[in-house]
Symmetry: C2
Subunit: 421 residues, 2 copies
């Protein structure tokens, strides 16, 4: 076992240096990382070929194998993402509030980096570069603990990032790749509460549960999206159908895809048969309650598990509800606080839907697929937080900083009798 504590200490030593970097230096660093990655594309592809071979030998296939695969275009995409992050506004040093109080002291709230961020993720090697870039742009050091399937690819990508750090006179430990992927080392990492300021697990239920159970450092979970569309009784049904098709079929394997549709009883017969046909045309399997199946004979029965499921696949759960309140109760019961959508022409119904739910993202007449940092104007995202603390929903560079207080005075004291005459 490599000594994870030593790795984290070296990473932490980079924190004051990174926190002091000005914006042009950080931008130059990230652009040089992109260049280094492109120069080393052959190394990266060779390493990735090793990972792909090992994964194939282990019987990995389908979407997981696809997430692991790199090619020239994907490496170019990773480099471009680094350059895109370099163009983002620098969140560090931003004064979010300034106030002068009655006693003459000025109180500012100023953004500073969080410190050391441990990113814990699964098979996608692009996360190695994406997460490092966002962490660095926000002045943080990062410990990357990716999945074992991508270890060769991650090592090759990290080598490119290190080349740029070194060229800028910065410690390569600012981006630390954990190569010992044992569970013991992950547990040890998650307990370094004096060295690690935040752990961000991004992955499936098993990973999230493991991190939550073992962490003594703060955790922001990037957990599943059981996203709902509620079709209200005064919805524009064509609009609702567009949201449904986009939400379910444009990329079913992602967390902002729709998993369940709730339809108001008054519009069920006008909406469901046509919607079901459109979904089936696109290869979507339907699972519904009895009222749905009465209108859509092709739908199979939906179980409790189906309503709680993040299918990440061309499967959808359907249910007819009697009212907005029933839809809200269903979402509260089965939802994962990620993203919910209402299709309605009624403003007060929309308002009640928004106010009654506490999901990270609530959409009125817009597709769940917009629930993404890039789509919502954050420029890039490190993921989508489902922890209702610090950051909730798409999480960009700003969410990798914290506001602190800077107070300036001219010798003010709290108790006047403290003054020396």
């Amino acid at each position: 076992m490599s000594d994870i504590r030593s790795l984290a200490m070296a990473c932490r030593e980079a924190v004051p240096l990174l926190a002091m970097l000005d914006t042009p230096s950080k931008r130059a660093l990230l652009n040089d990382m992109a260049d280094a990655l492109e120069r080393r594309v052959d190394d990266v592809l060779d390493a990735n070929a090793q990972d792909m071979q090992l994964a194939a030998d282990k019987g990995v296939q389908g979407a997981m194998l696809d997430r692991l695969r790199l090619d020239q275009a994907r490496v170019a995409g990773i480099a471009q993402a680094l350059r895109d992050v370099a163009q983002l506004p620098d969140p560090v040093g931003v004064v979010t509030r300034r106030e002068t109080l009655a006693n003459g002291i000025t109180v500012e709230r100023v953004r500073i980096p969080l410190g050391v961020i441990a990113m814990i993720y699964e098979a996608r090697p692009n996360v190695t570069a994406d997460a490092a870039a966002l962490c660095l742009m926000a002045g943080n050091a990062v410990i990357l603990r990716g999945g074992s399937e991508a270890i060769h690819s991650n090592r090759a990508i990290a080598a490119a990032l290190h080349e740029a750090l070194h060229a800028h006179g910065l410690p390569t430990a600012a981006v630390t790749l954990v190569e010992d992927l044992s569970r013991e080392t992950m547990v040890a990492l998650l307990q370094l509460s004096d060295l690690v300021d935040l752990a961000i697990p991004r992955g499936g239920e098993g990973l999230i549960r493991f991190v939550t159970e073992h962490a003594r450092v703060p955790v922001i979970k990037h957990y599943k999206g059981v996203c709902h569309l509620y079709v209200d009784r005064v919805a524009d049904l064509t609009l609702a159908l567009n949201l449904l098709i986009d939400g379910k079929t444009s990329r079913p394997g992602v967390c902002n895809a729709l998993e369940t549709v709730l339809v108001h009883r008054d519009v069920a017969d006008a909406f469901l048969p046509g919607a079901a046909a459109a979904l089936r045309e696109r290869g979507v399997e339907l699972r519904g309650d009895e009222a749905t199946r009465a209108l859509v004979p092709a739908a199979g029965p939906a179980s409790e598990e189906d309503y709680a499921a993040e299918f990440l696949d061309l499967i959808i759960a359907l249910r007819v509800v009697d009212s907005l309140d029933e839809a809200i109760a269903h979402i509260r019961r089965y939802g994962s606080d990620h993203t919910e959508v209402i299709a309605t022409g009624d403003t007060s119904t929309a308002q009640r839907f928004v106010q009654s739910l506490r999901s990270a993202v609530v959409m009125v007449n817009a597709s769940s697929r917009f629930s993404d940092g890039g789509q919502l104007g954050l420029g890039a995202e490190i993921g989508i937080s489902t922890t209702r603390l610090h950051a909730y929903g798409p999480m960009g560079a700003e969410s990798l900083t914290i506001e602190r207080f800077v107070v300036r005075g001219e010798g003010q004291v709290r108790h006047p009798e403290s003054r020396i005459p």
Copy 2:
């Protein structure tokens, strides 16, 4: 053992009701709580007398016994604090940002409550009312787990709060007092990650460590303040002395009191003898390094432990440093990220001090004793966070909410091919 899970479930059921309360309702509720507390003052004082007797029997004395004691004036003060919180701006529903994107969707960031907050604290019974008021004003339900020394007082105060909740048609479980104070029950509470959104431990090292080790729910620590004053070589030495006396002696038992003074070598002989005399006049014990003791013979030697100590008493550690950098290095090594102060007449030195430290509060020419939510314009505080996540430093009602995304469109989809022709 009472069933803490059942208690937390009942508390959680109050969350949607509290989240929907409008501002006037919350204000009326808190004012009625204040009235109920004043009506029940005799019950509260009787209960407190029981706690005081038990504490005295156990040999509790000094500051701890004083923190536990209530009298007519202190109960009136608790009631007034409830009325003060009722006058604070309501953070729930505040739109912090609004943007219309190129595709026509509008993206708002809107504050919502966190949900269920578990407040874990020690002997001060006023926290029972203060924490409940701030949590409720921010639309949250709260589980209060106070110290065993104050259990009778806490129960009497909670009864008053419940009377007002009941009169407003709200479940009394919105403010749940844990009466089973066993460690097992605290551990069980801290592991209810499906029911509790945040735990706030406020107390000494033992409590904080216990909570951090056992929690699976998110934790924001309110930990110790090893606060520093650095007297720069171009400081106004009278101003510096005022900050020192105020910081050390105006209330030595609180977390924003000064614990260590670092003095630049160039001003050590001009500053230290006079400062030492002023401190000794006020009963402060001095512990210094060799350079300090050469100038101040009355100072005892300072150990490593002294520099890391939160004395919470009339004791101060002193040290002569050669430079700003040495002062910064000392604070990074021994500090607790709470509050640091520089006395200097040089703006660029001040700026470097601020930027090089990542403490929650950094003061330039102002007393550490202003590091307090009330003093810094938050109206009231639930405590001072030393966790660099979500809230850092004094934490008011706003920090008991989280920003989420509300998106409004007119049927926009992410992939145009999703549109039904």
